[in-house]
Amino acid sequence: MTGLRLETIVLARGGEPLIAVEAHVAPGEVLSVMGPSGSGKSTLLAAVIGTLPPAFTMTGRVVLNGRDVTALPPEDRRVGILYQDELLFPHLSVGGNLAFALPRALRGRKARRARIEAALDEIGMAGFADRDPATLSGGQKARVALMRMLLAEPQALLLDEPFSRLDATLRDQIRALVFARARDRGLPVLLVTHDRADAEAAGGPVIALSDQMTTTSRGGKPLKPTEE
C-alpha cells in the first residue's frame, strides 16, 4: 500500500499519553496537523522522522510505501523534512548543500555537478552553485532548502511550519512551489502548522491538536481521547 501510514501511534512522556494518531496520507496528498505551540506537533514529526527524544515513548508503526520504518534510524527512512528555518549548512556553498543531499549512487564529479546545476536551474537559480548561502535572500534560501531535500529522493515529506518566517507574498509563492513539487513526485506530505492559511492552501485533510487532546484518524473518527 503506497503512501505514509501512521498506524495506532501513541506518544507518551513518562507514561502519560500525549498524542494518539491514526492516519494515512496518500501519495501527493497533504495531511495538515494544526495546533497551538506545545500541543505536541513537533514531537509527532520527530516520531515520524526517527529522532524522538529518549524521554518519550512510542507505540504503533510508521509505514512508508508498505515498508515498516519504525525501527529504522532517520537516515534510512527516506523521509525529508523542512523547518521554518532553512538550516542550510553555513560552511558549505549552495552547490555544496545540494551535493550533500545527492545520493551516492550518482557517481562522478561531473555528473553530480551537472545534476546540481540542473536542480538550481529548476528553481530559477542557475549559476548560484558557488554562492555563500548566507548571502541569499529569504526566498532563495527556502528554494535551496526545498531542492536540497528533493535531491535526496525522499519518499515522504514533513513540513514543520516551513512558511511562518516568510513574508506574506513570498509565503504564497514558496508554499505553492513546495506543494507542486510534492504533488509532481507523488510524495505524501505531513504538514504541521498553526497557520490556518497553510492548511487551507494544502487542500488536504486537517487534524486539529488541542488542549483537550483528541486526535483523529483520517476519517475524522477519534482514536482515543487523551490529556496533555
Binding site: 522522522i49 560552511h91 550533500f100 536540497r148
Partner: protein
C-alpha cells in the same frame, strides 16, 4: 556504537583515576607505609614529625592566607569591573587584552612580575634616580616578603583574566541587560544595580571556577618559588622541598604535609562556602535595604583600575623579560640596557630547541587525546540523549580542586610499580588529567548550543551519524574546537609538577627549564626561555582565531559562530 557509549566512563577513569590512585599513593607514606624506606607498619610518626617542624604554622597560614587573599582580590576585581563596565567599549577592549593573557604560563607571568616590582626592577629603574634619588636599589623586602604580598599580587594578576572570561561566559544566562534595565528604571545606579540584580545569578554560574582558583592559589608551587617567601615558604613548596631532600626519611614528612595540604584546601573550600552563605544573607539584606547609589564612580574606577593593573602587570612583565633577552650589560638604575644584541638568543636559543620540541609533542598528544575524548563524550551525549547532571560538572572540576602535590608523588610511585615507568606516556596521562577538564569546559557549551535540527535535516537527507559528525557538526564547530584545542595546549605547556614527577626528570619542557633557570636568576636566559614558552602558547591561539576565518572567509554564516 558501543565504544562511543563507553566514552564518558573512559573519560572519567582517565581523568579521575590518576587523582584517586595518586592520593592513595601519598596517603600510604603519610601513615608510615613506604617499604623501600623501611616503613612497613601504620604509624603516626610522619604526622608527628610534621607537627614538630618549626615553620609549620606559618607555612599553613601562608598557604591559606595567600590563597584566600588572591581569590578574594581576583573575584572582587572581576566583579567590580563587570559591574561597572559590562557592555561598554572599555570592557570590550580589556576583554580582548586579557583573553590572550590567560594563555601566558603562570611561571612566565610570575618571572615577569618579579622583574617589574623588585627593588632593582623596572619600575624602580624608571623612577631612579630622578624621582627617588636611588643610585643603588633600596634594601626593600618586596619580593619574597614574609606576608606573601608579592605572591598574592602575582596569583591575582593571573587569575583575573581567568575569572573575567568565566564571568563573561556566564553573563548571558543571567540576562544582564534586562535585569539591569529594570534595576536602573527603579532608580539604582549602574554598579549598585548590577551587584544587586545581576551578580547573584552570575556567581552561581562561576562558583566552580572560583573554587578552582582558590585551590590553585593555595597550592601553587611554581609561582610561589618565584614570588613567595622562603622563611618559611608556603606549605606546598615546603612539601616539594622535603620530597627532594637528600635525607630520604623526610619523604614521610613530605607525604604527611601533602595530605595536610589537601585538608587545608578542603577546609578553605568549606570556609569559602560558609562565606558564600553569609555573604548571600548580607547581600539580600543589602538588596532589600533599597540603597540606590554606593560610591558609584569610586567603584567603577576601582574595577577598571584593578583589571587594567592585572593586564599591565603581565604585559609589562613579559616586555621586561623580552628586553632582558636582548640586553647587553644592564645595570641599576638604567631604565634601558646599554646595548641590544642577539647574543643571549644565539647562546641559549639552540639549547631550547629540544625542550621546545618536547613541549610541542606532549601538548600535542595530550590535547589530541583530550579533544578526542571530549568529542566522543559530547557526541555520545548527543546520540544517546544522555543528560549531563550538575554532578558531572563537579567531577570535571575535581582534578582542579585537588592540590597537585597531594597526588602527583603518589602517582609517580604507582606508575613505576605498575611497570609503566616514567616517560612521555606517563607524562601525557598526567597532563591529560588537567587538560581534559579545560578542553571539556571550553568545548561543551558551544557544542551543546549547536542547533540539533541541522543533524535532523542531514539525517533526513540520508546521512548517518558518522557522516553528520564529520561533515556537518565538526566543520560548523571548527572555531570552538580549535579554541578548545588551543586552551588544552596552553594548559599542557604550563604544567610543572605534572611534567617533573611523572617524567622521571627525563622529560624536559620549556616550563621545567624555566623553573630550573629561575633558581639561577639569570634574567637574560630566563627572558629567552619565557619568550619561547609564551610564543609556543600564543601560536595555537592565533591559529585557532585565524584558521576558521581563513577557511570560511567566503562563508558569512560562519562568522561569529563560536
Amino acid at each position: 556504537m558501543r565504544p562511543l557509549r563507553a566514552a564518558p566512563a573512559l573519560t572519567l577513569v582517565l581523568m579521575l583515576g590518576p587523582v584517586l590512585a595518586g592520593l592513595a599513593g601519598t596517603l600510604a607514606p603519610a601513615l608510615g607505609v613506604f617499604p623501600a624506606l623501611g616503613g612497613h607498619t601504620l604509624s603516626l610518626e610522619p604526622a608527628r614529625a610534621l607537627a614538630a617542624w618549626p615553620g609549620l604554622w606559618q607555612a599553613v597560614a601562608l598557604s591559606v592566607g595567600t590563597g584566600l587573599a588572591a581569590t578574594l582580590i581576583a573575584l572582587g576585581a572581576v566583579t567590580l569591573f563587570a559591574a561597572g563596565w559590562a557592555g561598554t567599549r572599555a570592557m570590550g577592549l580589556l576583554e580582548r587584552l586579557l583573553s590572550p593573557l590567560l594563555a601566558v604560563p603562570h611561571v612566565a607571568a610570575a618571572l615577569g612580575l618579579a622583574f617589574l616590582i623588585a627593588p632593582s626592577g623596572w619600575i624602580a629603574r624608571a623612577l631612579s634616580p630622578w624621582a627617588t634619588g636611588w643610585q643603588r636599589p633600596p634594601d626593600l623586602l618586596i619580593l619574597q616578603d614574609p606576608m606573601g604580598l608579592a605572591m598574592i599580587a602575582g596569583l591575582a594578576a593571573k587569575e583575573i583574566p581567568f575569572l573575567l572570561l568565566m564571568t563573561l561566559a556566564a553573563l548571558p544566562q543571567a540576562a544582564p541587560a534586562r535585569r539591569l534595565t529594570i534595576a536602573r528604571a527603579l532608580g539604582y545606579g549602574r554598579t549598585t544595580g548590577w551587584l544587586k540584580a545581576v551578580f547573584p545569578a552570575v556567581y552561581a554560574q562561576i562558583r566552580l571556577p572560583v573554587y578552582a582558583v582558590l585551590a590553585y592559589s593555595m597550592s601553587a608551587v611554581d609561582v610561589a618559588i618565584v614570588l613567595g617567601p622562603s622563611t618559611p615558604p608556603p606549605l606546598a613548596v615546603q612539601v616539594v622541598r622535603w620530597m627532594s631532600d637528600p635525607d630520604l626519611s623526610l619523604r614521610f614528612r613530605a607525604a604527611a604535609g601533602a595530605i595536610l595540604q589537601l585538608g587545608l584546601v578542603l577546609a578553605a573550600l568549606a570556609l569559602w562556602r560558609l562565606g558564600e552563605v553569609g555573604a548571600a544573607r548580607l547581600g539580600r539584606r543589602w538588596a532589600e535595604g533599597g540603597a540606590r547609589h554606593m560610591a558609584e564612580p569610586v567603584l567603577r574606577a576601582a574595577g577598571l583600575g584593578l583589571a587594567a593593573l592585572a593586564a599591565a602587570a603581565v604585559i609589562f612583565g613579559l616586555a621586561g623579560l623580552a628586553l632582558w633577552s636582548v640586553a647587553g650589560f644592564w645595570g641599576f638604575p638604567d631604565a634601558l640596557p646599554d646595548g641590544i644584541g642577539l647574543r643571549s638568543w644565539a647562546r641559549h636559543g639552540q639549547a631550547l630547541i629540544a625542550p621546545a620540541r618536547e613541549t610541542l609533542l606532549l601538548a600535542g598528544l595530550a590535547t589530541a587525546l583530550a579533544l578526542a575524548l571530549t568529542l566522543a563524550c559530547l557526541e555520545a551525549e548527543h546520540r544517546f540523549g544522555l543528560a549531563p547532571g550538575s554532578r558531572s560538572l563537579w567531577l570535571l572540576y575535581l582534578p582542579l580542586l585537588v592540590p597537585q602535590v597531594a597526588f602527583l608523588p603518589g602517582l609517580q610511585t604507582l606508575a613505576l610499580s605498575l611497570g609503566a615507568g616514567t616517560g612521555r606516556g606517563t607524562v601525557v596521562l598526567a597532563h591529560l588529567v588537567f587538560v581534559l577538564p579545560y578542553v571539556f569546559l571550553a568545548l561543551s557549551a558551544p557544542w551543546r548550543a549547536w542547533d540539533p535540527r541541522h543533524a535532523t535535516v542531514a539525517a533526513a537527507l540520508g546521512a548517518g551519524p558518522g557522516r553528520i559528525f564529520r561533515t556537518v557538526r565538526l566543520p560548523m564547530l571548527l572555531a570552538p574546537v580549535l579554541t578548545a584545542a588551543a586552551v588544552g595546549f596552553a594548559v599542557s605547556v604550563g604544567q610543572y609538577l605534572p611534567t617533573l614527577l611523572p617524567g622521571g626528570g627525563r622529560i624536559r619542557t620549556l616550563t621545567t627549564e624555566a623553573v630550573a633557570l629561575a633558581a639561577g636568576g639569570d634574567r637574560r636566559i630566563i627572558g629567552v626561555t619565557v619568550l619561547v614558552q609564551t610564543a609556543l602558547v600564543a601560536a595555537p591561539f592565533a591559529l585557532a582565531l585565524a584558521a576558521p576565518r581563513l577557511i570560511y572567509r567566503h562563508r558569512r554564516g560562519m562568522r561569529g559562530a563560536g
